[in-house]
Symmetry: C2
Amino acid sequence: MKLSSRVLGIKHSAIRKFYVYANKAKAEGKKVYYLNIGQPDITTPEIFMEEVRKYDARVLEYAPSEGIPSLMDAIIDYYRRYGMVYDRHNVLITNGGSEALTFILSCILDPGDEVIIPEPYYTNYATFIAMADGKVRPLTTVPEDGYHYADKEKILPLINEKTKAILLANPGNPTGNILTRAEMGMICDLAKEHDFYIIADEVYREFVYDGKEMTSFGQFEDVEDRVIIVDSISKRFSACGARVGCVITKNHELHGNLLKLAQGRLCAPTLEQIGAAALYRMDPSYFDEVRAEYEHRRNVVVDALRSIDGVVCEKPGGSFYVTCKLPVENAEEFLIWLLEEFDDQGETVMFAPAEGFYATPGLGKSEMRIAYVLKEEDMRRSIEIIRLGLEAYKNRK
Amino acid sequence: MKLSSRVLGIKHSAIRKFYVYANKAKAEGKKVYYLNIGQPDITTPEIFMEEVRKYDARVLEYAPSEGIPSLMDAIIDYYRRYGMVYDRHNVLITNGGSEALTFILSCILDPGDEVIIPEPYYTNYATFIAMADGKVRPLTTVPEDGYHYADKEKILPLINEKTKAILLANPGNPTGNILTRAEMGMICDLAKEHDFYIIADEVYREFVYDGKEMTSFGQFEDVEDRVIIVDSISKRFSACGARVGCVITKNHELHGNLLKLAQGRLCAPTLEQIGAAALYRMDPSYFDEVRAEYEHRRNVVVDALRSIDGVVCEKPGGSFYVTCKLPVENAEEFLIWLLEEFDDQGETVMFAPAEGFYATPGLGKSEMRIAYVLKEEDMRRSIEIIRLGLEAYKNRK
């Protein structure tokens, strides 16, 4: 009873495998700061549960496969703020951004087809591509220039007759880097010239700092038939547990085929869609406060990291992650040591070693990703523990 | 920008394509009885929303990928009633039975592998199998003997080196037929001899009539490593819009690999899982009333259908569907005619033509499926309209 080669080739969650050590540290009485997972501490807006609580239909029925109209319309209105004009035939509501990606890849990849992804990347991308029997073609970057990838000369050699798409998180996860409008235009030109899709994971869209304007691939009209936007309420409204996402596309053939898959799974959850519609209807000023909080944390975290001897850390422009190089050979070993052997006044730290974010063997060994999803004082304290840990690690035995 | 062969090969929902005609009938002022979709009218138990409304965490966080512990434990306790003993490592909570099937098939099928399914079948099975690049191997049945398929001589010729599983809805959808314990034993023996999985879709498990006992494939210990149970709260508790299902398996290697896919999509929705846990904790007497209501409707519907000249309809033993043969050459054409050309006192009927439930071309053309999800008087009236429609259709022009 062999399992599929596909699933056997998928790795277990890179982030979660260190929980064994973290749980042991906790059991020993240590306090662990969790910087490893993108679970924000920002309060979920109360309007979400207020709307959910109002639901009083006698029967909790299936929602339409494409999503409930009030949520689709709220999303359409949200996009209009950014000059992006969609109608209901451009929107498909999904079980989180995850299902959006699963559906998109199933629609565009035949077995063996390739997707270009800048590495380090959100590891679940690899799972979704494997589920569609596709292949990751990594676009390698380095910490020294902030994981910059938008370079025509770097992308061109990766394109071949199997290339079906480039998949970009912008703002980035795990790097936090953002694309300039010119870089996006270059990628659009490549997509047209070499006939591939741009899958734009823009779930961190509202978290762009330094006064910069949010730019979406949906704003490039000359590629509107080949841009596929993945979106989600999880990070934008700190509602990760709701699992509401969407696909936005002006490619009608693609939308029609996505809808087949959506009909197959019947619908996304009704209640959470109702709550999500209320979130999208909030005044846009909501984002100003959240953005300011994250931007402040980023400054605190990056400044603290850069003050540590031997750390290589460019300041990222968006999302709520920083990936950086540590002055250690193997960040996984350092993390396990931090959890097993180290503490400062009974406290230690859990981060995500970055090796799991790379497809190319051997890369990322010295790097870590942290999510600045804790409040300022906890973030300061966490980086201080990492600093102390690095010193002790260097001088160990 | 070609789409994948996989998705282009998937058919649009067989049930939903007739809505164009139904909507037109409605727009013309006709009342349409919808018998085509398995959306029960049974009230969702109030405890579901009561529990959901109580949720007051500050942040709506990700749930564990495998499901929230209280729901897993409630499901484990539910199964214990039937002598089936599971622990949390045997359970994986999913976004409805649909995601359960998607994950299972992704785990066991390599491209080109085959799954034996009795036809007529729940059409979305074909979508899920296509998503895993597998192939449906249909086990053909006929209305004259109630769509009976549990016959060793019928199944054996379909088994080959590509056979990875048999996928059975028991009680059946769309046929409503149920397996005897002896038939299940025979299928278990075949699975052992020829080394394949039994995927047991038992979402209608509580809806077994005529005083018969519910039997689950989970009760056959000699195949516990190859039985994979798909379950869901949608029909059992009339909570279709909640999208909470699960996989139950004692195969640890399979469970570990299912978990990889579950981690990829992060989690099932938190709130709906909380509500679902309360549903599973209800007193089992809840099912007695619902079962009695469905059984009564089945009797009414089947008696009415069998009194129509030329209808071939064996009495199904479970679920809430009846599939039967009509005295027409083409049930799709008859349905369109019912919606476009016919009414009795301004009323007409929408059913699901059964051709879409078959993989073998040409089969099922004269058959229809109806879901007895409306109250008795509406079901009586609907079948009366079908009877009058059949008469008028025979004498048309």
